[in-house]
């Protein structure tokens, strides 16, 4: 257990029900149409579905005021992608923790044996097959068959290990992106290896669903394996994996003898060092979707324990000083710089970007357990992308890509969805 619900009692009690967690800050709002930031409250329009409402529910649970945990209550708890938009908005004004109380509420419930039946499929698959997709463990390395790349699980050594992530390994359409990534890295002269069938899930979904025990096992095992392999860098294409490795892995207290990078950071560096040159034109007007886990959720979380003192009757001063995670230090510029470096491309921004970005809808097990909600959230993003006059939406996360593609297919239309690596490969 990393942090418990009781660690957030003060935050939950201080929530003033101001509802500012439901929208981006006023100064960031550009139109009425795209003024929501929380997919859950936007869809269900009842306070409990918002960040503040979830704090009230968590507080009632922590204080033992709930006689029974009903199925509907569980539905509310899990009809949320844990995208963290409420957290960023709240911290614009009030500096309360919202995302971690959401995580802790789920962990508290899971510890008591309360979760959705569908979650047992995900967790059983994780326990038996080391992935959340109910796919055989033995097939995990198949995406790399025929690729001339070092396999660190067979004792080979490399400076960089490429962690493809569950979705890139098993989805036949997406695994082309993983292959492209390895080819790009090799072309740039990077000493790269993979872990083939021995690669395992990062544990992100388990963590976000509240199964923190299961998460801890996978996270500790990954850290041990990468330390033992002697790699200097772990590079991943999966934003969810990157987010959890950056923000939560350090909390486990294990030494991490490697640096964690998202592929957009690594490719951006390679392009700026002229190790990769994009020469082929890609004349298109595109927009970029910030994955939550690459953006606001990728800041390393620093838990705070201390005392809050009220001064002048209203301000709370915290001793010791608290590190406030506002989402400002996410990975926002590297993917944009990569897109801008593609000849002929025109990058236009949507209204909700960076730390106030609208979620794609796939996160936190919502894609696997509530596909209708996932697709509704994605369709809102598609509308926003279309409003910029873009021909394509580019992203840097397999979950976003898969969900956005499905939403485009369901709605019809010509909007293209690209993975950023695919864009780079086309422009080489």
């Amino acid at each position: 257990m990393i942090l418990e619900i009781k660690d957030y009692l003060d935050d939950m009690r201080r929530c003033a029900r101001c509802s500012l967690c439901k929208w981006p800050p006023l100064a960031q709002m550009k139109s009425w149409r795209f003024s929501n930031n929380c997919p859950s409250i936007a869809r269900y329009n009842f306070h409990t579905y918002s960040g503040g409402g979830r704090m009230a529910l968590g507080l009632a649970l922590a204080e033992g005021r709930l006689d029974t945990i009903t199925d509907e209550m569980l539905n509310i708890v899990y009809r949320c992608t844990a995208c963290g938009a409420c957290d960023s908005s709240c911290k614009y004004n009030a500096e309360l923790e919202l995302l971690w109380p959401i995580y802790s509420t789920r962990a508290h419930l899971a510890g008591m044996g309360y979760y959705l039946p569908e979650h047992s499929l995900i967790i059983d698959s994780l326990r038996k097959e080391d992935n959340t997709l109910m796919k055989p463990k033995a097939d995990r390395g198949k995406w790399a068959e025929g690729l001339d790349v070092k396999d660190l699980s067979k004792g080979e050594k490399a400076e960089v290990v490429y962690h493809a992530g569950c979705l890139y390994c098993y989805d036949p359409e997406l695994s082309a992106v993983a292959r492209d990534t390895v080819l790009l890295l090799k072309q740039a002269g990077v000493d790269v290896g993979i872990r083939g069938s021995q690669e395992t899930c990062c544990g992100s979904t388990a963590f976000q669903l509240g199964f923190q025990g299961e998460f801890t096992k996978f996270a500790e095992s990954n850290i041990d394996d990468w330390n033992a392999a002697g790699v200097a860098k772990v590079v991943t294409s999966c934003a969810c994996g990157f987010g959890i490795m950056k923000s939560v892995y350090p909390l486990l207290g294990k030494e991490m003898k490697f640096e964690v990078l998202h592929i957009t950071q690594y490719l951006d560096d390679l392009l700026k060092q002229n190790k990769l040159k994009l020469s082929r034109s890609f004349p298109a007007r595109v927009t970029y979707h910030d994955p939550c886990n690459l953006g606001r959720k990728s800041e390393t979380y620093v838990p705070w324990k201390g005392e809050g003192k009220k001064v002048l009757g209203q301000f709370i001063l915290r001793e010791p000083e608290k590190v406030v995670h506002r989402g400002w230090n996410g990975i926002y510029e590297p993917p944009r710089d990569i897109i801008r470096s593609v000849p002929g491309i025109q990058l236009v921004e949507m209204e909700r970007i960076m730390e106030y970005s609208w979620c794609c809808g796939a996160g936190s097990g919502v894609k696997q357990t509530m596909n209708d909600l996932a697709l509704w959230i994605a369709s809102e993003r598609i509308e926003e992308a279309k409003s910029t006059g873009s021909e394509a939406i580019v992203t840097a996360c397999p979950w976003c890509e898969q969900n956005l593609k499905e939403a485009v297919k369901a709605a019809g239309g010509n909007l293209m969805v690209y993975d950023i690596v695919e864009l780079v490969r086309r422009a080489l």
Binding site: M1, M112, G113, E118, H119, S120, Q212
Partner: protein, 271 residues
Amino acid sequence: MQIVVCVKQVLDPEMPRSAFKIDPEGKRVIPPKGTPPVISPFDENALEAALRLKDRHGAKVIVISMGSTLAQAVLRKTLAAGADELILLEDPAFQDVDSFASASILASAIRKIGDVDIIFTGRQAADWDSGITGCAMAEELGVPCITVARKVEIADGQVMVERETEDGFEIVQTSLPCVITADSGLGELRMVTLPGLSAARKKPLRVWKAADLDLHPFPSRSRLVDLYVPKHEAVCEMIEGRTPEEAGARLADRLHEEGLLQPGGGRGERR
């Protein structure tokens, strides 16, 4: 044919080591946050045995579980895997009961169900590892009991069970009804599927309180005296020698001194 499978909800034996904490004063393990309870693994094997018989011969499989607070999400997995009905024996009176009392309560429920041909359970539960409940339940019901089963077959109203022994297996035959306790060699519980989960929502789930059962008094026969996490201390001693042969001879002497090696190749006394 009607089969009852007794399953126990236990703390996850595969929880991270750092999550395992006990309350020595209260003599209890503190349930970890973020790690849900699970069905005891041998009980999952028992359910698989019942489902295989159902696949081959057709049967109604009823799962029963007993405790003071039971997690429906955890136990509904049995319905999703293929069981037909789930009965929860849930009552504050069932908290911290020992194996004999558990057997007595479960036997009452089985009598209430009536016409049961086979009762399956795991060879032992993953929390206390007592391995008593199955046998005690058979005693209470007055039926034969076959333990540590790795294969179960039915023919001509008789049940044939392959049971694990230290150096192999033996085949035991008995009449129905009987109690069979399952071993892991029987095979893992089948993977639950999404259609299985949907079907489980429509299957009956009943909750029986203590008052719903014709319970004999079930005084506990065991008492928990102490609960602590044993300390494992490892001491590394390097055995030196001028030659490998000399080091080897000294190592043998040292092992013999510790009673870990007997002259003549015996296994020696375990310490």
